[in-house]
């Protein structure tokens, strides 16, 4: 593993930042009736109603996590403000996942730039006809792309190494798929829930060995908006809220160059920084809910192992006795929401901590952790710790 410096870490010096409202729309394989802008407008309208804020008056900064190649639109900034109430107001788009976006929002609030900040991300993945072409554009152009390997091939390579070095077996991976799909059956936001057996996963078609079709989250579409405010603002305006205790993000070398196979350094370092920031003294098992990135099935186990520290601790969490692991069904069950994936995990945790998760509610949940990853071929991700 390479020696890396500190993660970008947000220092919460003057109280917490709170999530005071959430809104979402879509969560279907294809949201064909709405344009990207209309999808965002619906999600934003619901979030502002939930937070009882007027975006034209109360919001000081808008942040949208988006990537031009997924939009099919260069310099996406221009197509973002109007539909989330940000016309003529401060807005930035950042090509990063929403945990990094959350960190940016926290910085805007704690630096005094804004008291209320809006964080938006969306997926219109079905608009992208050739997703493979977009993914391959993420590969280094001289040394990787000429070989013709897709993201799934690179995932297959990493999965093969993970299974040989981590102590987890293909059976563990199969179970991860089965549990994600099963949890998703009860989540109204999930597009890919189902009663799968381990044999179903086992017989799924090979994409690039040992990776199979069932190991890969299928794409889905949604718009998600969170409204954030300083603790002082939330108190003064009597808003019900979920607190952000710590947030951090980090990059490692992609595993191809960095050789990280059984664990991911970005997840480990983000976790230790976020935990330190939150002043959290317990173990991973002390969280009531974990929503970890499972864009590929084996990545769930790799991320879990990275955070839990030992295989024994990871196995205890997988047993499900104390901590709920991906009660939403994760990306395997809900769908791959591209740049909105991390915001989806934050949304699920916010709903859980508010006690509004309905049929997937984890009883008495008070502390939750979100872990994000930006996808193949990156070694970039983050961790956010929420509580109520």
């Amino acid at each position: 593993m390479e020696k890396a410096g500190r993660s970008t870490i947000v220092l919460l010096k003057t109280g917490r930042v709170e999530i005071i409202g959430v809104g979402y729309e879509g969560f279907r394989p294809v949201v064909s009736d709405l344009s990207t802008r209309e999808l965002m407008f619906q999600a934003a309208s619901k979030a502002y109603d939930d937070a009882s804020v007027n975006p034209r008056r109360d919001v000081g900064s808008f942040i949208c996590c988006t990537e031009d190649l997924w939009e099919g639109w260069s310099i996406t900034d221009e197509m973002v403000p109007d539909q989330i109430g940000a016309a003529g107001r401060p807005l930035c788009t950042i090509p990063a996942d929403a945990v990094t976006g959350l960190g940016t929002a926290v910085m805007h609030i704690l630096s005094g730039l804004a008291e209320v900040v809006v964080l938006e991300a969306h997926s219109k993945a079905a608009d992208v006809l050739d997703k493979n072409a977009v993914e391959v554009m993420a590969q280094e152009p001289s040394l990787l792309r000429p070989l013709g390997a897709t993201s799934d091939t690179l995932a297959g390579l990493e999965m093969d190494a993970f299974l040989r070095t981590s102590g987890f077996s293909l059976k563990d991976v199969n179970r991860a798929v089965v549990r994600g799909k099963a949890s998703a059956l009860r989540n109204p936001r999930a597009s890919y829930g189902g009663k799968f057996s381990e044999a179903d996963v086992e017989s799924s078609e090979i994409l690039s060995s040992p990776l199979r079709v069932a190991d890969k989250a299928e794409f889905a579409e949604a718009g998600i908006v969170l409204v954030l405010a300083s603790e002082a603002w939330a108190k003064k305006n009597k808003r019900d809220s979920v607190g952000i205790d710590g947030v951090a993000w980090n990059s490692s070398l992609p595993w191809i160059e960095g050789g990280e196979m059984s664990v991911s350094g970005y997840a480990q370092r983000s976790y230790s920084d976020a935990v330190r920031r939150a002043g959290f003294k317990g173990d991973l098992e002390d969280f009531d809910i974990l929503e970890l990135d499972d864009t590929y099935s084996y990545k769930l186990l790799q991320h879990l192992l990275s955070l839990a520290g030992t295989k024994a601790a990871a196995r205890r969490i997988l047993s499900g006795k104390r901590t709920a692991l991906n009660p939403s069904g994760g990306s395997l069950g809900v769908g791959n929401l591209v740049e909105a994936s991390a915001l989806h995990r934050l949304l699920e945790c916010a709903l859980q901590l508010r006690g509004e998760a309905g049929s997937i509610q984890v009883k008495g949940a008070k502390k939750a952790l979100v872990q994000s990853w930006r996808g193949i071929p990156t070694g970039t991700g983050g961790v956010a710790i929420l509580s109520r």
């Binding site: 009736d33 709405l34 990207t36 309208s45 152009p141």
Partner: protein
């Protein structure tokens, strides 16, 4: 290059070197393709164009009529309220005589690109289109223009169903 430096140290790569591929060159072609959902507002707008009609959306908050239509008003941040059929004429707000193609190559004959404020829409609610049947030197701001449509069987629900706007012929 600074006027004080005539030549940098090292080996210069000339255009000839590149043509003859004397160095490793990486050329990458991709085929990014998208099918954007038109959504409610643009969907109805395009369907209207196919019928030879221009539609806008009315906002009850600021009482503007938005064209091209949107399902939300960016000023009021609320859903727009109703559809309004507009006339297929308007006036030139601003224009440019363009001698360049979208690939930056030079055109022999220029195109005239204009923002046209559509009659019935709110002031400064304009759509971008082309002007035709008019010499570049005759174009004026505030000039009244009308749409020239493709024939009904050739219209496909696209902005190009209007071939161009031409100076309005007084009836």
């Amino acid at each position: 290059m600074s006027s004080k430096i005539a030549k940098y140290e090292g080996t210069e790569i000339t255009p000839e070197d590149l043509r003859r591929e004397r160095y490793l060159m990486t050329t990458y072609h991709t085929s990014l393709s998208y099918a954007w959902s038109s959504g409610v507002a643009t969907g109805k707008y395009l369907a209207g164009l196919k019928e030879g009609e221009i539609w806008g959306r009315r906002c009850n908050g600021c009482e503007r009529t938005l064209v091209p239509p949107r399902m939300y008003c960016e000023q009021c941040f609320r859903a727009t309220s109703s559809w309004v059929r507009l006339e297929d004429r308007g006036k030139v707000v601003t224009y440019s005589v363009s001698y360049v193609n979208s690939d930056a190559s030079r055109r022999d004959q220029p195109i005239i690109v204009a923002v046209i404020e559509i009659a019935g829409g709110s002031p400064m609610m304009g759509i971008l289109h082309l002007l035709g049947e008019v010499a570049p030197e005759k174009v004026r701001v505030s000039m009244e223009v009308e749409a020239v449509w493709k024939s009904q069987q050739d219209r496909e629900g696209a902005i190009t169903d209007i071939v161009y706007f031409r100076p309005r012929r007084k009836e």
